[in-house]
């Protein structure tokens, strides 16, 4: 791996006190790969989440997948497959259930979702606290980014590939569903496909995020890059690219900070995103400072 004759760059990397650990240690390489996969898929999903004004829906859904993962854990122990399948099923059940309630009763989407996810969360906490020990609980809540094995990496990579492929296919209907849902319903039958397809992507990305960062932090890597990017750019394509770049950068920064300062990893990644967010809030072209003050000069037309 680190034969200096083969690659002087690698030798420099290993010798570098800052970046060295990423090459030297297998668990750091896995953590970085996992974070790259997660950033590539969760950040674009987060941009659409923001544009659909569903950022808090993402948070609610993250809590909703807990009991599914917990039941998987209850039946099969700390098994990646069982917890993944359980989490995806619970997330889809809450998404579809609250969608049906919203479409067929007087309750709006936000309230019906809140009702479902609170029930789901209470059930999850009950199951975890009755059967799990505190170490497992910490794994579920805060993720295991420094202990990703090959199977978990494969899962994150697979979810990333499915997400990017689906977003490429659903791109136009999804943009129209965000921009003018009534028009999409009028000209085609794609509106429910776009809506539920997107919720499906949200759920699998939350499950991916939950393996790496834990249920509580998984939404961070979706919502924060999108919100930060919105301060800088005005168009959809730049938003998607910038949000992804921010997620990648913050993953790297958070991982290294957590290694060198010996701090828990997933909060460090989310806090790195938070730092970008706060700096952008203050200094970006569409941030708070510029927003408060009109430009000192103006154009003729």
């Amino acid at each position: 791996m680190s034969d200096p004759a083969v690659s002087p760059f690698l030798a420099w990397l290993v010798g570098n006190p800052l970046l060295g650990p990423l090459v030297e240690f297998g668990f750091m390489r896995s953590a970085l790969l996992g974070c790259v996969a997660l950033s590539l898929s969760a950040a674009p999903v987060g941009v659409f989440l923001m544009l659909r004004r569903m950022s808090l829906t993402g948070d609610a859904m993250a809590h909703a997948i807990l009991p599914g993962a917990a039941i998987g854990y209850l039946l099969f122990g700390l098994s990646l497959t069982a917890m993944t399948v359980g989490g995806v099923l619970a997330g889809l059940a809450v998404a579809v259930g609250s969608g049906l309630v919203a479409r067929n009763t007087v309750l709006r989407e936000d309230t019906s979702l809140a009702a479902f996810y609170l029930l789901s969360l209470a059930l999850g906490v009950l199951i975890v606290s009755v059967r799990g020990n505190s170490v497992d609980l910490l794994h579920v809540l805060f993720g295991t980014v420094l202990a990703l094995d090959d199977a978990a990496l494969g899962l994150l990579g697979g979810i990333c590939a499915v997400t990017l492929g689906s977003l490429a296919l659903l791109y136009r209907p999804l943009v129209m569903e965000c921009l003018d849902p009534g028009f999409l319903r009028q000209v085609s039958r794609w509106s429910p496909v776009a809506h539920y397809g997107f919720l499906g992507l949200l759920v699998i990305n939350l499950v991916a995020g939950f393996h790496a960062l834990g249920t509580l932090m998984a939404v961070g890597i979706m919502v924060l890059p999108a919100a930060t990017a919105r301060f800088w750019v005005r168009r959809l394509t730049p938003l998607l690219l910038l949000a992804t770049a921010l997620a990648l950068t913050a993953s790297l920064v958070g991982l290294l900070l957590s290694y060198h300062a010996d701090l828990p990893t997933s909060p460090m990644i989310v806090l790195s995103l938070g730092a970008f967010y706060l700096l952008s809030l203050l200094f970006a072209p569409q941030g708070a400072l510029r927003h408060q003050r009109p430009a000192s000069s103006h154009l003729k037309a």
């Binding site: 544009l51 136009r172 129209m176 921009l179 003018d180 028009f183 794609w190 168009r235 959809l236």
Partner: protein, 289 residues
């Protein structure tokens, strides 16, 4: 999917004993009439007369309580609702928003080609928005946004166009431009149905008018429909629904298409304007006072 080049020949729209409403309260009551292909029709009436409800039913968005809308099945319809669900803060440029109107040619998975972009720019040019192609949607004024929505309607190129108060937030030069576009559509053979409240505008630009006050007051040539007597009759419509109103006695069987239905049914609101029923029939030539 829809055919690539839709037939430009519009269908005749046939409403037979159409009753529309919410919670069993009729918002449009036993309406029967025929809109010939290629008509340019204004729909007018007091607030709560059922104009928007009728447009929604024509667009296929609302299922009738009874009766039927004939002639529109399988037709492509371009519909601009009164309150469009468009999110004007969405980060997209004007050309791409307008390109939504090409859905019937591009579909969900197609790509916008240079040809499509040219069509978008032509449509923007014909509503006077040249130079706005790459501007963000959030930088448009209310009137400019309405022009952009009309450009989207142009690209939809549907044989039937339904518009609900399209000039509500638009200045005079803009509405003059858009009215010219409506005439152009009619010359192309499209059927255009427009809900309006400005009677002077209706008199100046619309050959046919449908005066609605839940029930049909009159339908025919504009000058004849917009008479003082007709308008006074429309104004007497009772606006709030009556929760204690008895069931309407006129079932779909008892009142056939094109006929005034039975005059005896006793809802409270029909008592307020008993004459309206005498004009319940819909043929244009008979709609004179």
């Amino acid at each position: 999917m829809h055919p690539v080049h839709p037939a430009t020949t519009a269908p005749a729209i046939e409403l037979s004993n159409l009753t529309l409403g919410y919670d069993r309260h009729p918002a449009v009551h036993h309406l029967s009439l025929r809109i010939e292909p290629g008509s340019l029709v204004a729909v007018v009436g007091p607030n709560g007369a059922g104009k928007s409800t009728l447009i929604k039913a024509l667009a296929g968005e609302l299922r009738p309580i009874s009766g039927a809308v004939g002639g529109l099945a399988g037709q492509r319809i371009a519909w601009l609702p009164q309150h469009s669900g468009l999110d004007p803060t969405f980060p997209i440029d004007v050309r791409r928003m307008v390109a939504m109107g090409l859905w019937h040619r591009v579909g969900a998975l197609g790509r916008l080609t240079a040809e499509h972009r040219r069509l978008c720019d032509e449509a923007l040019a014909s509503v006077g928005l040249t130079g706005f192609e790459t501007r963000g949607l959030d930088t448009l004024s209310g009137g400019q946004l309405q022009r952009a929505l009309f450009a989207r309607l142009i690209l939809q190129d549907a044989p039937v166009v339904l518009l609900d108060e399209p000039f509500a937030a638009v200045d005079n030069p803009t509405s003059a431009d858009l009215l010219a576009l409506l005439h152009h559509w009619q010359q192309q053979g499209k059927t255009v149905v427009v809900v309006l409240h400005d009677l002077a505008q209706v008199r100046a630009h619309f050959p046919l008018t449908l005066l609605l006050a839940r029930e049909l007051v009159a339908y025919g040539p504009t000058a004849e429909v917009l008479s003082e007597t007709h308008w006074a009759r429309a104004q007497r419509m009772q606006e709030p629904f009556d929760d204690d109103a008895p069931l309407c006695a006129a079932s779909p069987e008892t009142s056939g298409e094109g006929h005034a239905h039975t005059h005896a049914h006793p809802h409270s609101h029909s008592d307020a304007h008993p004459q309206a029923h005498a004009h319940g029939h819909s043929h244009r030539e008979e709609a004179l006072p």
